[in-house]
């Protein structure tokens, strides 16, 4: 392995680690103001939605709106299943099975 690659990976590692580390060190063991606690309480739902929806309604690079794709179609019964059962394992298995089926139909 050459030095360049070593430096690259170490650099990537450091800039990736710091944003993961700084909030844990500075926000843990500290009493947070109420507004910040509320704000952080909304973050998981906000992030999850921000990760999911673009992946379901866009494709390609650069991204384009694409509402006709198996991932979006399958997400509807997957959402309903998750809502009714609240089962992580069940949702993952069901989602995979539906997606597998949908891919066969679509292709």
């Amino acid at each position: 392995m050459n030095t360049d690659y070593l430096l690259l990976v170490l650099g990537m590692g450091i800039v990736t680690y710091l944003p993961r580390w700084i909030p844990l060190i500075f926000l843990s063991n500290r009493r947070l103001p109420e507004w910040l606690r509320q704000w952080l309480d909304f973050i998981p739902a906000a992030i999850l939605s921000a990760l999911i929806l673009p992946a379901l309604v866009t494709t390609g690079e650069p991204r384009q709106l694409n509402l006709f794709q198996p991932a979006l179609l399958v997400s509807i019964p997957t959402f309903i299943f998750a809502w009714k059962t609240r089962s992580l394992a069940g949702t993952v298995i069901t989602g995979m099975a539906l997606f597998w089926g949908a891919q066969k139909v679509f292709s």
């Binding site: 392995m1 360049d4 430096l7 690259l8 990976v9 170490l10 650099g11 990537m12 800039v15 990736t16 680690y17 944003p19 993961r20 700084i22 909030p23 844990l24 060190i25 500075f26 926000l27 843990s28 063991n29 109420e34 507004w35 606690r37 509320q38 704000w39 909304f42 973050i43 998981p44 739902a45 906000a46 992030i47 999850l48 939605s49 921000a50 990760l51 999911i52 929806l53 673009p54 309604v57 650069p62 384009q64 709106l65 991932a71 997400s75 997957t78 959402f79 998750a82 809502w83 992580l88 394992a89 949702t91 993952v92 989602g95 995979m96 099975a97 539906l98 997606f99 597998w100 891919q103």
Partner: protein
Amino acid sequence: MTAAWPICLGYVPIGLAFGVLAHNAGLAPWEIGFMSLFVFAGSSQFIAVAMIGSGSAIIPIILTTFVVNLRHLLMSSSLAVYLQRLSAGRLSLYAYGVTDESFALNMTRFREGGWDWRRALVLNHTANAAWIVSTIIGGYGGQFIPAGAFGIDYALPAMFICLLILQIRGGLYVLVAVISGVLAASFSLLFPGNTYVVLASVLAATLGVFLRKVYGKGSAGKEEL
């Protein structure tokens, strides 16, 4: 350790695909494993390998990695609420394993109760091991494994969908999630890269706090103003 299985299942196809691409960009399997160990952030690794393949210099790759992974800032902030009274060493070890997937799963478990930092840490490192191993296997010849088998590509999206449902604890959460999703989808069409995740989440969560203040939750909420 078994709690990590949806993540591991999801990491296998992505890890294999990454290994194949990294191999095509000229990286040896152990160089691939080295990156997976030190960086442990899927999307930025994909981008880095693409940039290596196109002959990019080191600094632009590192800067891109930084921007792509800034979203972890939000996740660690949110996790900090549940990681009180831990030593700096343990927090530093925990920080290594913060990914989109481990964050989402651990946050949900913490909120449901009966979850502690030890279990969360085991989950982080199980997912980490699955990632490292599958990327290395991909580097050795993952192209021989059929793509898309058993709908495995949908393991992580399905997991995220269920975790999102589990995060919804009232109308305001639905509203925040919908706004965040719509903003993220719109921003993702407008701007290159993945800054849309941070932008949309910050705006939607801020709006959530604002709305909670305006409409309050009964008299208790109003007294705080």
